[in-house]
């Protein structure tokens, strides 16, 4: 450990105190992060009666129950919200990938007139905040009669200029020789893109897929504007409507069961793809 050798001035004792303080700080923040998760799982397995009789909340429960989970799926259309979100996430991400891959390939590999100008134009679009364009999109979708449809939900959520940029950078690292060799063999551009470029750039593809999926799963603002029919609610809107008029305001345990169900998929995804997600976010994440 490098720092073991550094405390000539602080001395061995000072170093140990510092180490203890360091771990205490980290443990404290770990507790702050994890406690809400603990509380949500804990509350979700307390029975309705038990929860409401605790004037002083208990930090544990001796009689866990899964009844709340059953309630969450029967009393409110949680399964539908869930299915909607899965479909929305899959469709949006797939469309985004198709659009992004084609555009990135054009910018990285093909030559055409106006390419540089168009690329600068694309880059400048990265600075446009979503709040500015959402107003017109809402009006457009309303006028096209696309509110409360999946097209209305999905189409405005597809574009991601930043991912085009990210993928283009990656495509450009693929050696030109491969392209010329493929051309000599008579391979078409599309075939080259699918058979050579995509496998070579798999990590970036996976990264942007996961980042987009997270974004879709958690999106709230656009789905709220584009839908007011619970048939088309996504989980974020679902949880909000559950909160406002779902189980009746007092059934907090069932509400927490719904929250657990909604949070679980992304947490599982994260635990599986931890390295990839964290690397991806540090390259291209924007939240905070």
């Amino acid at each position: 450990m490098q720092s073991e050798t550094t405390h000539k001035k602080t001395g061995k004792n000072g170093g140990r105190i510092l180490r203890v303080l360091t771990y205490m700080l980290l443990a404290f923040w770990g507790l702050v992060v994890l406690f809400p998760f603990y509380w949500m799982v804990l509350t979700s397995i307390k029975s309705y009666g038990a929860y409401n009789s605790e004037y002083v909340p208990k930090l544990y429960t001796l009689s866990p129950t899964l009844q709340n989970y059953a309630d969450a799926f029967t009393a409110v259309p949680l399964a539908r919200y869930f299915a909607n979100t899965v479909f929305f996430t899959a469709a949006t991400t797939a469309l985004m990938l198709a659009v992004t891959v084609l555009a990135a390939y054009a910018f990285a590999r093909l030559n055409f007139r106006g390419k540089n100008f168009l690329f600068v134009l694309f880059l400048s679009l990265m600075m446009i905040p979503n709040e500015l364009v959402v107003i017109t999109n809402y009006v457009t979708i309303t006028n096209l009669d696309l509110r409360n449809t999946f097209s209305g939900l999905i189409l405005p959520s597809v574009t991601s200029v930043f991912y085009i940029y990210l993928l283009k950078e990656n495509f450009e690292q693929v050696p030109d020789q491969l392209y010329y060799a493929a051309k000599v063999d008579g391979t078409s551009d599309l075939k080259y893109l699918i058979k050579v470029m995509l496998p070579l750039c798999r990590p970036t593809i996976v990264t942007i897929t996961i980042l987009k999926a997270i974004e879709c799963w958690n999106s709230y603002v656009w789905p709220r504007l584009a839908t007011d029919d619970p048939q088309y609610y996504l989980v974020s809107n679902g949880i909000q409507s559950i909160r406002e008029n779902g189980f009746g305001r007092e059934n907090i345990p069932a509400m927490m069961a719904a929250v657990v169900v909604i949070s679980l998929p992304l947490i599982v995804l994260f635990l599986f793809f931890r390295k990839m997600i964290m690397a991806g976010v540090s390259r291209g994440g924007t939240k905070g």
């Binding site: 002083v56 679009l125 017109t136 799963w217 504007l225 949070s263 994260f270």
Partner: protein, 298 residues
């Protein structure tokens, strides 16, 4: 050559269509909307062009309340979260055992649904007829009286909102700062160690200058992000933020557009452009200030 040119545009066609239709056109349109007076959403008519929408928004008490809330939120959460993230990242990079575990745990809020976990925060802080809630239990151990953080005094509500915002933005900042700290060239530290430099001096003379570009990046994105706060507030206080007195500028835009007080895209556009102007100004100031203080190393 001509055919090749066509191919490039063909590959870009989907992206151009999507961006043109859902980004470029709306961007132009939002400026037009903001100057159309008395725009009627149902009949799509307006009486004339002018700056009335702006003066209406600027005189609307709800907008002023939203601006106040947003500014307070920004001023409180950006320095606190950046400072805390720096402290935690420095702590993280000084340890080896359990480092990965801590990193994983600290990142968890990033992958959670803001609306869903906000509900948990609400329950932790809320005081109802049946229970004072967990946070009030903690307070009572220190002899402090029960406070309703969700429907109670303004300061208490602002406190919860700031706390939750910080909780949500920390993972990103910790991640970015940890990788910045890891990329500082070790030779600087080795040289300082040979000279017997103290830890504090090493931190302020080497570490901080070396990671200052990252810090500036985080502060700027932090400002932008905090100015756009909305769903955190919805998660804690419900969709009727005006009634709760906790609306944000973005919340005001959406309320004007949609919801019980909605149907006014012109006011929404004017408010959105005002927000954009504020964010742009602050970002420029940030950049100007940082240019004087940041060390860029090649």
């Amino acid at each position: 050559m001509e055919k090749k040119s066509l191919k490039g545009w063909l590959y870009l066609l989907p992206a151009i269509l999507f961006l043109g239709f859902f980004m470029v056109y709306p961007l132009i349109d939002v400026f037009v909307y903001s100057f159309e007076e008395n725009y009627n959403f149902a009949s799509q008519t307006y009486s004339g062009m002018g700056s009335y929408n702006y003066s209406y928004v600027l005189r609307d008490p709800y907008f002023l309340q939203a601006v106040r809330n947003t500014f307070l939120l920004v001023v409180i959460t950006v320095p606190l979260s950046t400072g805390l993230a720096l402290l935690i990242s420095v702590a993280l990079s000084s340890i080896r055992p359990l480092k990965q575990l801590f990193q994983t745990v600290f990142f968890l809020p990033y992958v959670t649904n803001t609306l869903a976990v906000g509900l948990v925060f609400m329950i932790l802080f809320k005081r109802t007829a049946y229970t004072d809630g967990f946070v009030n239990l903690l307070l009572s151990w220190f002899g402090a009286g029960p406070v309703d953080f969700i429907d109670g005094p303004y300061a208490a509500k602002l406190f919860v909102l700031c706390l939750y915002t910080i909780w949500v933005v920390m993972p990103f900042k910790i991640l970015i700062l940890t990788s910045a700290l890891a990329s500082v060239n070790q030779t600087y530290y080795n040289a300082a160690r040979i000279d017997g430099t103290s830890r504090t001096r090493i931190f302020f003379r080497i570490t901080l200058p070396m990671i200052s570009p990252t810090l500036v990046y985080l502060i700027i994105t932090g400002f932008i992000g905090a100015f756009k706060a909305y769903s955190d507030a919805v998660a804690l206080f419900g969709t009727n933020l005006n009634a709760a007195g906790m609306n944000t500028i973005v919340g005001y835009v959406y309320d004007m557009l949609y919801g019980s007080s909605g149907g006014y895209p012109s006011y929404a556009s004017a408010a959105a452009i005002l927000l954009f102007a504020i964010v742009l100004t602050i970002t420029c100031i940030n950049l100007l200030v940082s240019r004087k203080h940041v060390h860029y190393f090649s």
